[in-house]
């Protein structure tokens, strides 16, 4: 599947999902996908489907849980919720990510300025 826009950096999808669930609370897969799209604006092209294998993986790791519930417009949907272990993991990944971004930043800054 060719991607016309910017591809997701490997590993970042998990971080985005966790962050979304952390800030918005329980949400179904569609909601998570939409939220990621909205947040990234037009910069990121997400194949919404890829969210599901990612959710499965996060659940298998014990970072999120899922439960069937009813959506706003009265549909049955599977809701995902971040667990305590998931928050810990999120904090860890945020930190790692910030540090990495920081380092990259420093590399790039002098040559520009």
């Amino acid at each position: 599947m060719a991607q016309d826009k910017s591809d997701i950096l490997p590993g970042t999808l998990n971080l985005m999902v966790l962050k979304t669930l952390d800030s918005l609370g329980p949400l179904h897969g569609y909601g998570i996908a939409r939220r990621i799209e909205q947040t990234s604006g037009d910069l990121l092209q997400l194949n919404q489907g890829t969210i599901y294998p990612a959710l499965l993986q996060l659940e298998q790791m014990g970072w999120i849980t899922s439960e069937w519930g009813v959506s706003d417009n009265n549909r049955r949907a599977k809701y995902y919720e971040i667990t305590r272990a998931g928050r810990k993991q999120l904090a860890l990944e945020e930190q790692t990510w910030r540090r990495a971004a920081d380092i990259i930043e420093r590399f790039l800054a002098p040559s520009e300025g």
Partner: protein, 884 residues
């Protein structure tokens, strides 16, 4: 870290696969609906909204596939899928599955059962520490037979031999326990002090025999085995040191043997006492009687051969302290065997033959399964080709086939285990009396695993061949072949296998045939008396109140009592019974008439002390003179009746009547020969040793026989008479143990038990081999006919008669059989060598047997050919040709 959690989650998913799959579908459907709605809200048309939603989602099937890969354990899921498929495939062709599974089960089961039975007897070390150092010694008897050793020989060896750590002698002892509840007679042994040390075992409780116990007039002490101690004395450890009453004497219990102790020399023995023979060796005493077994523990590093040489040199060099009578002079030294050889020697040839037979069965089973899988693989090449065309990878196909073969092997193995379980039980039930270590026989897991692995591996390997072929070969060709096959390479392999099967089956059947004919020959032998309707009862007097006179009176009264029984037409008693399998009671016989004057002219003969009427009751014919009668009492002049063979060997054609002879030691009375009777086989039907002397029990003064056989001729069923006969004996004296009761036909069968054992197994294996060979031939021909349907159709269309077609197919099958027979015959000639010691009265090359077996095989293969041939002949040329 999280590896385990993920694995467990995935494993869970394997079990909830279908529910999770439904949830995934549902979740994606929801997602798409929500996105579609959103798109509509943005003003797209219904169709447009839906298509956009799909685009935004990305490839639905790819997502699902990635999801599934992550969700469960794909390896296990595919395997389960393969298993389900394999189960369906096997269930779809029940005939093939049944034949393959039964073949596997029979091969694995029979092999496991036989090896489990044979292993403890032939191969496993005996249950004693350093059992290879235990040896048995025998004197040389007439014509190289084994003879028990004398106490004198034992004494001399204990003093002069340097080869042994311990040396011991043993004789049987059958005491009766009284004083507790009902009297019970035990099997036991009188042993010299070092018996248990020679075996290398110690009592678990109490103490061993010491030299001080084993002296003439020494203390009465016994050691009990664990089973007797628990059964009769409740396992009370306080029994050690207490006294029990055996044969009306008080014996002190000094020890209890450990629970696991196996007394291989006399497995039934439960109680032991000290031998207490006279170490001064008075001449002509029991100390010089040949009635002891001798067992020794060799010194570290001394072999059986060394012992034999040392005993030889001692034998050649007599010393004055150990003056030997001529009959115990050891002119040839002694026979020395390892304990293992000694106790298994009698059954070893039969067991080895049976092992050979079962290996043949296993090979035939393997060949048969191979053949079946090949045939099936060939038939399924079309199917494989289709699957490859639909995208199944080669490894996927191989895995599928492997799963099928494994499933087949697994079912076969489970059934095989059941067969082995039943087989072992049947073997123990069938086993000849006196088979050593029967108690140690049980299904052997190692053997099972071995047989299972071999059969399964061969099946697996062979099952893969067609798949390998299919996945490699030209797809297009195979697809075409799925509808129109021609005879190909696999047919040749299958024919070779069938030839091998026929050959192997022939070898087995010739073995079975030779044994069968031997058995017929054996039972065609006239034992010298009438064995039908004869009940025998061995009775022994026990206790001090029985001396020579009271014992004699007891047997007289018992005889009167059984004669009164309705249905008894004649009865008598005798000190030894032909074909009873008991120890033989042989004596040296000296004739007064000794024209050559040589001292060595001594005939050995069986001694029978009998009641008058014995010959009449047994149906032994009188040849000359008269039989023993009631006038031959203790007070009358001693008379003897001899067997025809003894008369012949001594007097040739002269008249033996009126001649005199002595039985046993030189001081005995002279017996006048008054009659000659027909020869009777004493040891077994196979042994032509018939020299015998008969005297009345009243005139037998040397000692008195405590144990006698009552023989009764019944009008009807002899076995039905047994309870009444027992009651009759007990009516005379209720305390007298009846050692055993058996009809003469039972004894006769028991005397041929080892041969019968081998025969039964060979017959069973032979039948299996015959069936498998028949199935093999049928399979190949059936396959060949269905592959040649078109050819047959053309032949018919071109004017061949149905008869021609029939001949064509039958000839093809019989050619295979012919090759198999020729190869099998040479195999059988070679293999029959192993059976020689089990044969009787026929050559191992007995032409009748070979001819019969060939006819049988030919008949079975003709039958196996007939069905496919008949089907071929019914082919309708119009239909076959149109079908193309």
């Amino acid at each position: 870290m999280n590896g385990l959690r993920v694995f467990l989650n995935r494993l869970r998913a394997v079990f909830f696969r279908s529910r999770l799959e439904r949830e995934l579908q549902e979740e994606i459907r929801m997602h798409l609906e929500m996105q579609t709605e959103e798109n509509r809200r943005r003003g797209m048309s219904d169709r447009e909204a839906h298509r956009a939603a799909l685009r935004q989602f990305g490839g639905v099937e790819q997502v699902k596939e990635r999801y599934r890969d992550r969700r469960g354990l794909p390896l296990i899921e595919t395997t389960l899928q393969d298993l389900r498929y394999a189960g369906r495939v096997l269930a779809k062709s029940p005939a093939f599955t049944a034949v393959a599974v039964i073949t596997l089960a029979l091969g694995i089961g029979a092999c496991t059962a036989i090896f489990s039975a044979v292993n403890p007897i032939l191969f496993k070390p005996l249950p004693y520490p350093q059992a290879d150092r235990i040896a048995m010694m025998w004197d040389f008897g007439a014509e190289g037979s084994r003879l028990y050793v004398t106490f004198g020989t034992y004494r001399e060896l204990t003093q002069r031999s340097r080869s042994f750590d311990y040396l011991a002698v043993i004789r049987p002892w059958q005491p009766t326990l009284t004083g507790t509840s009902e009297p019970e007679r035990f099997n036991g042994q009188r042993v010299s002090a070092d018996y248990f040390r020679a075996l290398g075992v110690q009592p678990a409780l109490g103490r061993n025999f010491e030299a001080t116990d084993d002296q003439q007039g020494g203390p009465r002490v016994v050691i009990l085995n664990d089973a007797l101690w628990r059964r009769r004395f409740g396992g009370d450890p306080g029994l050690v040191g207490q006294q029990i009453t055996l044969d009306a004497n008080l014996y002190t219990v000094i020890g209890i043997m450990p629970a696991g102790f196996e007394n291989l020399l006399t497995p039934a023995a439960e109680v032991w006492t000290a031998l207490q023979y006279d170490k001064t060796l008075p001449p002509d005493s029991r100390e010089w009687g040949h009635h002891l077994r001798m067992v020794g523990r060799l010194r570290e590093g001394v072999g059986v051969e060394q012992v034999r040489r040392e005993i030889d040199s001692i034998a050649q060099d007599p010393v004055p302290e150990f003056a030997r009578p001529p009959y115990a002079a050891m002119p040839n030294g002694l026979m020395v065997y390892s304990l293992q050889d000694d106790i298994t020697g009698g059954v070893r040839p039969a067991l080895l033959a049976v092992v050979g037979a079962v290996l043949l069965v296993l090979v035939i089973a393997c060949v048969n399964v191979t053949n079946l899988l090949l045939a099936r693989g060939a038939q399924r090449r079309g199917e494989f080709a289709v699957r490859v065309a639909l995208g199944a990878g080669r490894t996927r196909l191989l895995r599928q086939l492997l799963t099928e073969s494994l499933l087949l092997a697994l079912i076969g193995g489970v059934l095989g285990m059941a067969v082995a379980e039943i087989g072992v039980k049947a073997l123990v039930a069938l086993s000849p009396p006196g088979l050593p270590r029967v108690g140690a026989i049980g299904v052997d897991g190692n053997v099972f695993a071995f047989a299972f692995a071999i059969t399964a591996l061969i099946g697996l390997a062979v099952g893969l061949v067609p798949a390998l072929h299919a996945s490699r070969s030209d797809l297009h060709g195979d697809l075409q072949q799925s509808s129109r096959r021609t005879a190909s390479g696999h047919q040749l392999t299958r024919r070779v296998l069938v030839v091998a099967e026929v050959a192997l089956a022939l070898v087995l059947l010739v073995g079975a045939g030779l044994l069968l004919r031997s058995m017929q020959r054996l039972f065609a032998i006239d034992p010298g008396f009438d064995t039908s309707h004869l009940l025998t009862l061995q009775v022994q007097t026990a206790g001090q109140r029985f001396n020579a006179e009271t014992t004699h009176r007891f047997f007289e009264q018992s005889l009167d009592a059984v004669r009164q029984l309705p249905g008894v037409t004649a009865a008598a008693f005798t000190s030894q019974l032909p074909l009873s399998g008991d120890l033989e009671d042989g004596y040296g016989v000296h004739f007064e008439w000794n024209p050559s004057g040589s001292l060595e002219a001594e005939n050995s003969a069986f001694r029978y002390a009998v009641s008058p009427g014995y010959f009449e009751a047994m149906g032994i014919p009188l040849r000359r003179g008269r039989l023993l009668d009631e006038h031959d009492t203790a007070a009358a002049p001693p008379v003897v009746v001899i067997s025809e063979s003894l008369a012949q060997s001594k007097f040739l054609d002269q008249n033996p009547l009126g001649q005199r002879l002595r039985i046993g030691p030189n001081e005995g009375p002279w017996f006048t020969i008054v009659g000659v009777v027909g020869n009777v086989r004493q040891t077994s039907l196979a042994v032509d040793q018939t020299a015998a002397v008969y005297v009345t029990a009243a005139q037998w003064q040397l000692f008195f026989d405590r144990a006698m056989w009552l023989v009764m001729r019944a009008q009807g069923d002899a076995a039905a008479l047994a309870p009444a006969a027992r009651r009759a004996v007990w009516s005379v004296d209720k305390d007298q143990p009846i050692v055993r009761a058996a009809t003469m036909n039972d004894l006769l069968n028991a005397s041929a038990a080892v041969r019968r054992f081998a025969l039964t197994l060979f017959e069973a294996f032979g039948v299996v081999a015959l069936i498998l060979a028949g199935v093999g031939i049928y399979g190949v021909l059936a396959g060949s006919v269905s592959e040649r349907v078109r050819e047959i159709g053309i032949r018919l269309a071109l004017g061949a008669s149905r008869r021609d077609i029939l001949t064509l197919v039958v000839r093809q099958g019989m050619t295979l059989t012919g090759f198999g027979v020729v190869i099998g015959l040479s195999g059988a000639v070679a293999a029959s060598q192993a059976l020689v010691s089990l044969l009787f009265g026929i050559s191992r090359l007995d032409p009748l047997t070979y001819l019969g077996v060939v006819m049988l095989l030919a008949g079975v293969s003709a039958l196996a050919c007939w069905v496919p041939a008949w089907r071929a002949a019914r082919v309708d040329p119009a239909i076959t040709l149109r079908a193309e």
